[in-house]
């Protein structure tokens, strides 16, 4: 059951689905634009709120309800997506978040809201859907495909949950892309033969440093380190603390007793921080934060200088640099080996951050793109790269017409619509190896019919065809996707056997042979997990394949060949074959199947 993918019907966008904010961008004809909503805002808060009147609010409207309807306003889902019930992350979130969670089917947590019990991807889907609407309104065309970004350290469960969220929102996911890679793409990755890049991503709630190595169109993540509870929000909180102390000192009034006043103070703190990225001095005035003697409304004026702010922010910036040092140590590289440092995330707009990063890495960081938008821009660039390849190619003719004359080209142009597209002229094969015969002329064969090789006589080694298919011309770098984390199987003693190492190009296939470990073993279980630890228990468990009804045999006499195929959509196909009988068992580990 394979749906024919419809090429080039709608537009393809890039979505940076962030912890705090989501950004959507589009690229066409080499021009990339961040798409703005009706109010002209580039950031869509990743917040969903279920209103008592039945409406579902997404974005700024929803964020406003964080204080007044905390139990039905869901935020920071990205911290939770793809995590199972009972993991430390979920336990921690249950303590600190105001919305309720409970265990759903298959150990998948669900959020209990006014609109029912919803798994995490369903919440993210609402944000993606809103992003899609923004894009459609801005572009004036249907949007049906997207590249969606995730942090480099997301495992396959988290990636697959993100993919599902986008699907639920009605988008075909072209690629799940690492955020640092997206940022590097926005800065024209692959312009040099080989380079090493550091991506410093200091966002609203999280900090990540990722070290990338780019060569041969392959982007490898050398190391990534982060603090998932360190961000611009912490600096806001520090300013807020100062303001609260000032209010108490000036007016003998504790603003912490009123939720509404605290919301005002928090907003003012963020406003001050943003003002101070451009000014040396900023002030705010909060009207009627309380009532003094005789019922006179108290207004609170506060001013903050950049120097004061920097004193408050310094410990947090220092913490980011400590994380950088960790990542560097893990990579065994020196700071001086990096060809560039890219800044990502709103908090990197602070002059203090830029100065400290510059002095730490010993080179000025790149910040030409808006650091809030750079990831979405890179995602849009990749979306354009992938779909322009699609557009250049004729649609496969419908099955019935497959035997007819190759009308595919005209059919595709009818589909493509607007302007005529000319397929690239076939390029000469890049070289021909001497001594190899020319391929047989193929013109007499019916077009589009699969060519079957004649069976080879025994003992004759098959020879590689002498030509490569002609690659499309004029493309940017080909971005080869790699596995983020090692895929392993659990072996005796709770250790792991690493089957597909991290940074392996996707799609890929590997096989392993296992022997039974006890006499008359009836069942063989293959437990698959993901992560870099040597102990299976410390890695993330992905699932298991059971082969039962094994023929009776002594231990070690029965060999089972297990093959692992990771396809381009991040789905792991595991199959086990009994080498003696040839019997095969297959399972599709659509990693993290439902919920999650």
């Amino acid at each position: 059951m394979h749906a024919v993918r419809s090429p080039g019907l709608g537009a393809a966008i890039g979505i940076d689905l962030g912890t705090t904010n989501t950004v959507v961008a589009h690229c066409a004809g080499g021009q990339t634009a961040v798409l703005l909503d009706e109010q002209g805002a580039n950031l869509l808060p990743s917040v969903v709120s279920f209103h008592p009147d039945g409406r579902t609010l997404v974005g700024r409207e929803a964020r406003k309800r964080r204080v007044i309807d905390a139990e039905n306003t869901i935020f920071s889902v990205k911290r939770l997506i793809g995590r199972q019930w009972g993991t430390p992350e979920i336990d921690k979130a249950r303590q600190i978040f105001s919305f309720q969670m409970e265990e759903g089917p298959k150990k998948q947590p669900v959020i209990v809201t006014r609109a029912g019990k919803l798994p995490f991807p369903a919440i993210s889907a609402l944000v993606v859907k809103r992003a899609k609407e923004i894009a459609e309104a801005a572009l004036g065309v249907v949007v049906d495909r997207a590249v969606v970004t995730v942090p480099a350290n997301f495992n396959d469960l988290q990636r697959s949950a993100t993919r599902r969220a986008a699907k639920e929102a009605g988008l075909e996911v072209l690629r799940i892309l690492n955020e640092p890679t997206a940022a590097a793409l926005a800065y024209g990755l692959g312009t040099h033969a080989a380079e090493k890049l550091a991506v410093y991503d200091f966002g609203g709630g999280t900090f990540d440093l990722t070290l990338l190595e780019v060569s041969d169109d392959v982007v490898e993540v050398i190391a990534t380190a982060g603090d998932s509870f360190l961000g611009g929000d912490d600096i806001d909180l520090a300013i807020e603390g100062q303001m609260v102390r000032a209010i108490i000192a000036d007016h003998h009034l504790d603003p912490r007793t009123s939720v509404e006043v605290m919301a005002l103070v928090r907003a003012a703190a963020e406003h001050l921080k943003i003002q101070l990225t451009k000014q040396e001095l900023a002030h705010v005035e909060l009207k009627s934060i309380g009532y003094g003697e005789g019922g006179v409304a108290i207004d609170f004026k506060y001013q903050l200088s950049r120097t004061q702010l920097e004193r408050l922010a310094k410990p947090y910036v220092d913490r980011t640099l400590a994380v950088c040092a960790d990542a560097l140590r893990a990579s065994k590289l020196d700071k001086s080996e990096f060809d560039g440092v890219i800044l990502v995330g709103g908090s990197t707009r602070m002059p203090l951050v830029q100065e400290r990063v510059e002095s730490w890495f010993g080179r000025p960081p790149r910040i030409e793109w808006n650091p809030d938008e750079v990831v979405a821009v890179g995602a849009a660039v990749l979306a354009a790269m992938l779909t322009e390849k699609d557009a250049r190619r004729p649609a496969p003719p419908p099955a019935a017409a497959a035997r007819a004359e190759p009308r595919a080209r005209t059919a595709a142009f009818a589909l493509g619509g607007t302007e005529p597209m000319v397929p690239p002229a076939p390029k000469a094969p890049f070289f021909d190896m001497p001594g190899l015969p020319e391929p047989p002329p193929m013109l007499e064969q019916a077009p589009n019919r699969p060519h079957t090789e004649p069976p080879l006589p025994d003992g004759v080694a098959p020879m590689a065809p002498s030509v490569f298919p002609v690659a499309p011309t004029g493309d940017g770098p080909l971005l080869i996707d790699v596995t983020p984390l090692t895929l392993s199987v659990e072996i005796v003693g709770g250790y792991v056997d690493k089957v597909i190492p991290r940074n392996t190009a996707v799609p890929c296939t590997r096989t392993r042979r296992f022997a039974t470990s006890v006499d008359q073993q009836r069942e063989l279980m293959v437990r698959v997990c993901q992560g870099e630890e040597d102990r299976a228990g410390r890695n993330t468990s992905l699932g298991e394949l059971v082969m039962s009804d094994l023929p009776p045999a002594r231990r070690g006499d029965l060999w089972i060949e297990v093959s692992f195929a990771l396809d381009g959509d991040g789905i792991l196909h595991v199959s086990a074959k009994d080498e003696g009988t040839g019997r095969e068992v297959k399972t599709q580990m659509r990693i993290g199947a439902e919920g999650g």
């Binding site: 394979h2 993918r5 090429p7 190595e213 060569s215 041969d216 169109d217 392959v218 990579s331 590289l333 080996e337 390849k389 190619r393 004729p394 496969p396 004359e405 190759p406 595919a408 080209r409 397929p423 690239p424 002229a425 076939p426 890049f430 070289f431 190896m433 391929p439 002329p441 193929m442 013109l443 007499e444 064969q445 077009p447 589009n448 699969p450 060519h451 090789e453 080694a461 098959p462 020879m463 590689a464 065809p465 490569f468 298919p469 002609v470 690659a471 499309p472 080909l478 080869i480 392996t504 190009a505 799609p507 890929c508 296939t509 590997r510 096989t511 392993r512 042979r513 396809d567 381009g568």
Partner: protein, 200 residues
């Protein structure tokens, strides 16, 4: 197209895309049997291809077969491209990893076009362990030990080519010694320029 005899001109030439699909299917039909060097179209020289050659060849290969190029093709062609690409990526993985590369080229010279990757990796792990020990300790017979001692000294001096020669003599003196063979493979791997700054 200029070389096509005139009588065939009545047949409309296939589009470049259909032509491309057919080439992919032809590759997919043989990909499981052909060796890594032919796959990446690298010449079979005694010393094996250089690191730069391997990278360049893989890049060309990936540009030709990466499944991204075949998004709009039929399911059959997409599967074929994925199959060919993953085999090429495997070839690159083996040929760019010094220890694996040495083991593979040995197997290839012995007539095995596609030894099991699992076995290669296992042998490589043994090589890595052997590399940590002095060759003299791995050798059992006095003759092999003498060669081993010389090899250890050469390794210490950074004269890897001489170390290799000494180890070859040690292996010759003691043909069944897996440890010495592993040590030799490890030295050969070091002789072959390590990939990009030796991170791996």
């Amino acid at each position: 197209m200029a070389s096509v005899p005139p009588r065939r001109l009545s047949v409309r030439p296939p589009t470049p895309e259909l032509e491309r699909d057919r080439v992919v299917l032809r590759w997919a039909a043989v990909i499981d049997k052909i060796d890594y060097l032919s796959m990446l179209r690298l010449p079979k020289t005694p010393a094996g291809p250089s690191d730069a050659d391997v990278r360049r060849a893989y890049r060309t290969f990936a540009r030709a077969f990466h499944p991204d190029h075949f998004r709009a093709a039929s399911q059959e062609v997409r599967d074929a491209a994925a199959k060919v690409f993953s085999a090429g990526a495997e070839a690159y993985g083996v040929l760019s990893e010094p220890l694996l590369r040495v083991r593979y080229l040995k197997a290839l010279a012995g007539g095995q076009a596609r030894p099991r990757l699992e076995d290669l990796e296992k042998a490589t792990r043994e090589d890595a362990r052997a590399a940590a020990q002095p060759a003299a300790a791995l050798a059992k017979t006095p003759g092999a030990k003498a060669h081993g001692e010389r090899a250890d000294k050469m390794i210490e001096l950074g004269e890897l080519a001489y170390a290799k020669a000494a180890l070859e003599q040690a292996v010759h003196a003691e043909p069944g010694n897996a440890g010495l063979a592993a040590k030799l493979a490890a030295v050969e791997a070091r002789l072959y320029a390590p990939r990009r700054g030796g991170r791996r």
